[in-house]
Amino acid sequence: MLEWLTHNPIADLYGPHFLALYAGVILVTLLLCGILRSFTDPTSGVPLPRIPAEPDPYEIAYLRGGTAELARAVIFHLLQDGYLTVDGGEEHRGKRKPSLIRWRDDAPDPSCLKDLEREVYSWFRRGLTPEQLFQSDYLRRLERHLAPYEERLRQEQLLTVPAQLEQLVRLWCGGMLAIVGLGGYKLLIALSRGKHNVGFLVLLMIVGTVLLTIICSRKGRLSARGQDYLARLQLGFGGLRTRARSAQERQAEPSLLLLMSVFGVTALGDTPFDYYPAMFHRSSVGGSGGSFGSSCGSSCGGAGGGCGGGGCGGCGGG
C-alpha cells in the first residue's frame, strides 16, 4: 500500500508533464465550481415581486445598502422635513460642504415621527458629523428597528440565505480538495525525493486557491432575485433623476427620498441637496471605518462574506 502511495502514475509523472496536468485540473475545477455556484442561489429565475403601489423608501434603502444606507435615508428625510439642519464645513468652488448635522431650532414636534426616525433624530441633539456617526455605535442602535424590513426582504427572497453560504463553503472545500490535495501530494512526493524545484507547483497551487476563493465567495447580501428586483426599481423610477434637478431645498419632495433610496446619495448630486453626497463621501475618506463604517467591511459582512450590494458604510453610491 505504502509502495503504491509513493510510486504511481501521478507520483512518478515527470515534473513539467505533471504541471501541465495540474494546470488542467485547476482549470476544470474552477470552471466546474463557477457553474455549480450559479445553482447555489435558488432565487435565480424566480419571478420578481411587483413594484409596490406605495414603495417604502426605507425598505428600499435597507435592501440596497443595509443599516448604513437606511440611516442615510432617515437622516435625509429628517433634513427635508425640517427636523435637522446642517452647519459648518467650507465653501469650495461656490458649493457648500457642511460638516455638522444638528437639531433645527424651529423643528416640528418629533413625537409625530416613526420610532425609527425618532431614534435617529435623538442622535443629533448636540450635533454630529457623519464621521462621528460612522465611527461610533449609533448604527447598532438601529438594529431593533430592522426586524420588519429584514423579515419582509427575506420572505421575498431578496437577501442571501445562510443555506447558500453553506453550499458555497462546501463547494470551496471540494475545490480545495482537488487543487491543494493534488498539488500538496505531488509537493510531498517531490520533497521526499530530494527535489526542491517546486516553485511553479507552489505558484500554481496559490493561484488556483485564490481564484477558487474568489469564485466561491458570497457576492453581497442580495440574492440574485434581490439584485434583479433592485435593477427593476431603478428602471421603474429612473425618471426621478430628471425631476430631482428642479426640486427646491426646503420643499419636502417625497420623490427625492425615493430617489436617494433607489439610487444612493450620489443621485442627489444635481439637486439642491448636493452637499449631502459630499458630506457622506468625506466620512468614508476621513473615517477609520468603524463597525458600520466608512469602508466595505464589517457593516457589509453581517454573517460573513463580501460587501453589500448597493453601498458600504461610506460610499452608498447607486
Binding site: 420578481l48 403601489a53 427593476r232 428602471l235 421603474g236 423610477f237 429612473g238 425618471g239 425631476r243 420623490s255
Partner: protein, 279 residues
Amino acid sequence: MSTQDRLPSLGSGLGYREPFRTDLFLRPGAVDFLEIVADHYLDASREKREELELLASQFPLVPHALDLSLGSAEGLDPDYLNHLAELVNQLDPPWWSEHLSLTRSGGVEIGHLSPLPFTREAIDTVCRNVEAARRRIRAPLILENITCPFFVPGAEMTEADFLAEVVERTGCGLLLDVTNLHINSVNHGYDPWHALERLPLERVVQLHFVGGHQEGGTWIDSHSHPAPPEIWALLEAVLAQSPVKGIILERDEALPPFAELEAEVARARTLGKKHGRWD
C-alpha cells in the same frame, strides 16, 4: 356568446411612451392598462426588453402594430410578421391592433400610414392579409381607422361602409379612433355623426382619442393636445352604443404634466362606467 363578448373589459389607459414610465409607477392607479407600440419592441435591445418585461409585470398590455401594412397587395412582410408574432404571442394579450392602411407598396416603404382605396378589391386584399396574420398570431386582431389626408380616387363606397364591410368579412373587431373619425369628417366636409351611424358599432372593442391641431383650416392628427369637446361627445356616443372593452388616450407630443393625462384617462374611465362598460 361571441368572441367579442368573451374579451375582458380593461378600462381606461394610455398609449405608453417612455417619459411616462416613472409616473406610471408613482401613480399606478392612474391607468387600467397600457397600449404599447409593438414596433418599439421588435428585435429590441436589452434595455427595451427589460422595459417590456417591467411593464408586462405591472400592467395589462395591448400591442399596437404600425407596419404590417394590411392593405399591401403583395402580402405581408414575412420578416416583420415573424417578429410581430413572436412579440404578441409572448405577451398573450386579450387582443392586439393594427391599422387599416398601407405602409408598403410595390416593394417601396411609404414611411407613414397611407389610406386604402375604398374598393372591394382592397377589402379582398385586407381579408387575405388578416388571414395570414391570424395563422401566426393567436390573439384576436382589431382594426383601426386612420386619418386620410386624401381619399384615393375610384372609391366604391364611403369610409364608414368600407370599415363595416372589412369588419364583417374578416370577423375582426374595430379599434375606433374617434379623433381620426372627426378629423376625416371635418377635413372632407361630411357629418361625423352620420358616419358614426353607418359604422358597425356593435363590433367596437377599443377606442382611441386625443386632440390634434389646425393648420390653415385643416385638422392635423398630431396627438399633441387635450381632446376637445367634439371628441368627447363622439366618445360618449360610442360608449353608449358599443360594448367597448377599453379606451386609450394616445398623447405623443407636447406632453403635459402627467396629472393632466391622468385626468383625461379618468374622465374616459368615468364615462365608461356611466355606460356600464366596466365597474
